[in-house]
Symmetry: C2
Subunit: 257 residues, 2 copies
């Protein structure tokens, strides 16, 4: 059957219809914000490489050996142009260029600064958070090949057993405080935008790609820790609900279809 | 004598009239780019705090204990407004607002993204470079109180002896290769700007504050390693002279007065 809508390839939890990866969330937010019809196809971790090779999705990097191509999600396939695109930033640029009548996520001239902002958010927030979140994510992946793959690749990459990854006791308290402080520092940039042009986003009154990169990290927290978790409740209270407001202001773009 | 020009407070090497700090370089580049007259006053490391308190320069952070104010350079004193401003970003915003007829380093709406870009450059490039540069800088500081202060504070902060800081042997080769790769990754953002709007800077054809933050890191390399050093010669050749061209394109804004 020929596709009649954009396909977003995403990575499943055991529980169906949960998007949790901060990378696939970026693409999902972009599709939702731009009002483009799409459907999701869920691909378990160890099946990503074969899928990408089959549908002609470019690798997004190389593995630790420096030469073997690495394939990651998100990937989209657009049946209207026949194109298959990988990497959340490249997908956003592709959609921006291909569908110029949609709401704009890249104000003119800001692509380079937006791409740097996404990396900055990773350095500033994702690094420390990952220590807490990756073990939580592991337990929510489908049993069997997904968990086996995640354990094998992450334990090799980060040189730590899944079970020993998350900080515990007083160390956890201090490092979790560190996550809060990372966000306080990130907020300083948002304050500058507010002072200069008003609005709650990094470029002013409308969200841009960079804002969705941050929103995607919050979605990773929400689904990784769980909506009812102490950690998620905690995040919603930080800085008098400053991030709760940010999350809620973008909530309408978090539909999963 | 009443001042008749802006004063920039900077940190000296033993050799006179050398600006080497990536932070004071930012302010110097801004003053030069905006064509504002200024003179430099050189303040040795252990004298910075007393100076700041005396001239009413605000602290830029707190020390490790979380409460004691920390005073840093650059600081400027502007006799035309009577203001004393600290922190290179805040100084740039102050000059932008106070002297609106000067060339603009903050295109409208980009202050938040520029401030994030500066931090991103630090994460991406400065972190690894520091391991090489700080020991080199130490040996060029004035003998006596400057070196003693730098050794005491940095050894406490980074928990390493100055003499054991710089990587050696094969480790040095690998980490130096890492510095080159950090810059390759940074260059990807510049390529996006070039593709979108043309020009060699992060927002297009004219330099912005973010570009001068990067240029200041290169000045730190140039003066810290030394103009004749293998490391500096090396940097100038990376990516077929890609960074040499960048450095040269901003060279006219590196005057020291």
């Amino acid at each position: 059957m020929a596709e009649s809508t954009i396909v977003l390839y995403d990575i499943p939890f055991a529980e169906p219809n949960i998007c949790w990866s901060p990378n696939t969330w970026k693409t999902r937010c972009v599709l939702n914000y731009e009002g483009l019809a799409y459907r999701t196809e869920w691909i378990e971790y160890p099946d990503i490489e074969a899928l990408c090779i089959k549908i002609g999705a470019a690798p997004t990097g190389v593995k630790d050996d420096g030469t073997t191509p690495e394939y990651t999600l998100p990937v989209i396939h657009d049946p209207f142009t026949g194109q298959t695109i990988s990497d959340s930033f490249d997908i956003a640029i592709y959609l921006h260029n291909t569908y110029p009548d949609t709401p704009r996520l890249f104000p003119p001239g800001t692509r380079a600064l937006q791409s740097a902002f996404v990396q900055y958010v990773n350095f500033r927030v994702q690094t420390r958070l990952g220590q807490f979140l990756r073990p939580a994510v592991f337990h929510k992946l489908p049993l069997g090949k997904s968990q086996e793959y995640f354990r094998r690749t992450r334990e090799a990459l980060y040189n730590v057993k899944i079970e020993e990854w998350a900080p515990t006791g007083e160390d956890r308290v201090q490092k979790w405080k560190g996550v809060e402080m990372d966000l306080v520092l990130l907020d300083k940039h948002y304050k500058l935008a507010k002072e200069e042009v008003g609005g709650d986003f990094i470029y002013g009154v409308d969200p841009t790609f960079g804002d969705f990169a941050l929103a995607s990290i919050f979605q990773w927290c929400k689904q990784g820790f769980g909506v009812e978790s102490k950690e998620w409740m905690n995040i919603l209270t930080w800085q008098n609900g400053r991030w709760r407001k940010f999350i809620e202001s973008l909530d309408r773009y978090t539909l999963i279809v």
